[in-house]
């Protein structure tokens, strides 16, 4: 038996302990501090504080990507952004890419490629129509002529009945207003409104940063490696604990 062996092993353990400790120090410190904050979230008022940072909200997929499009109907602005639809910056319960909007007998009709919503004067959704009730999807555009709603699908215009449930082919010439890129000031207003409305509670952000999920898989990997590092540090610490023989 080599009498130097235990000493060398001890030295190696100390080296591992030092470097693993150094690498895991920051993540472990964060885990410890965020853990304490989460345990006392109510005391610190973290549930009431809202995070509006665009950078953070983008991680929660709360900020749409790409460029918003829109059109003005009377004094209302209807916008579409990344599959979401907004009316004066308020999100509408419609899905799909905005195709058009039109005023019809005191109501507002908003169409996406997938569905169409009819909203009353108080912006409440009166009726939602989809592939089951529309002449065809994807919807390409909408228009209003002589008080009736026209819907374009598959290069053909259809005239809908008063109750919107039946339709017939419309052979006439139809002019419709497709949505265009939103002006810079309207885009800014919309982005600000989305950020304010979709703010996340600080406690939720800290919880997700604590688990690492806020940063996607790299965050999870760092969290797991830190946890594993802690296990290894404990084992190494126990190994170094016995007193050295004199």
């Amino acid at each position: 038996m080599n009498p130097e062996a235990p000493r060398r092993r001890r030295h190696r353990s100390r080296q591992w302990h030092r470097w693993i400790g150094l690498a895991a120090a920051l993540p472990l410190l964060w885990l410890a501090i965020s853990g304490i904050l989460l345990n006392h979230a109510a005391t610190f008022g973290l549930n009431d504080r809202m995070v509006t940072s665009g950078w953070i909200l983008r991680h929660y997929n709360q900020i749409p990507g790409g460029d918003p499009i829109g059109l003005v109907v009377g004094d209302r602005v209807v916008a579409g952004w990344d599959g979401l639809v907004f009316l004066d910056s308020k999100q509408l319960p419609l899905r799909g890419e905005l195709r058009g909007a039109a005023a019809l007998k005191g109501q507002l009709v908003v169409a996406t490629d997938e569905e169409m919503g009819i909203f009353d004067g108080s912006d409440e959704l009166v009726l939602q129509l989809d592939e089951l009730s529309l002449p065809g999807v994807p919807v390409e555009g909408i228009s209003v002529q002589e008080g009736r709603l026209l819907v374009s699908s598959k290069v053909q215009w259809y005239r809908l009945s008063e109750d919107f449930f039946t339709f017939e082919e419309f052979p006439g010439i139809v002019s419709s207003m497709p949505p265009d890129l939103l002006e810079a000031n309207l885009r800014k207003e919309l982005a600000e409104a989305i950020q304010t409305r979709r703010a996340m509670p600080l406690s939720r952000v800290i919880l997700d940063a604590h688990s690492g999920s806020l940063f996607g898989w790299p965050g999870w990997v760092i969290s797991d490696l830190s946890a594993l590092g802690l296990v290894v540090l404990t084992a190494l610490g126990l190994r170094l604990f016995p007193r050295r023989r004199s």
């Binding site: 038996m1 062996a5 235990p6 092993r9 190696r12 353990s13 591992w16 319960p93 919503g117 009353d120 409440e124 959704l125 009166v126 009726l127 939602q128 129509l129 989809d130 592939e131 089951l132 009730s133 109750d163 449930f165 039946t166 996607g216 898989w217 999870w220 990997v221 797991d224 490696l225 594993l228 296990v231 290894v232 084992a235 190494l236 190994r239």
Partner: protein, 184 residues
Amino acid sequence: MLLTMKPTILVLAIASKFLRLFFMTAFLICGGSALGAPGVYQKPSDFVKSSLGQIPATRAITLTGAQQTRVRAILGKNYKSKAIRYWSAGGKTAYILEEIGKTEYITTGIVVKGGKIDAVKVLIYRETHGGEVARDSFTRQLRGVSLKVDSQLSKIPKNIAGATLSVRALTKLARLALYLETLK
């Protein structure tokens, strides 16, 4: 004897390599699936066609103030639209209803026959968790269920751990469909 044993640190180091690999793979797979597109189980038009044998003309129930109050009692809030569409044929009525599970709408097809639920199917599930409600083993529990005088179901479906909010949403939609059936 101690010296002949494999050093604990070595065992841990080897184990941690495998663990790291395992966790990284697992999280990559789980992370990828969590960010996936909504689960479309069946197109609403296919559901209506398969349930009723055809796609009948669309009809709608426009809720009055008093009816909205009843709906609010069932859902805990107003339904997303004032008018709710339905399709009827052969004594059956199909409803395509939507309710939020946790943050996203769950699109559900419900067929009612003779005041009882004939079929329930989750058509589009957009939540990241709780998709177990789309399984037949859950929706089967709602078949034959009717509405009691207090607007509760005659038989409450069993909860699914981890899918409580989705179970609640589907239960509410079943109650709503049965209530709408009384308004036709």
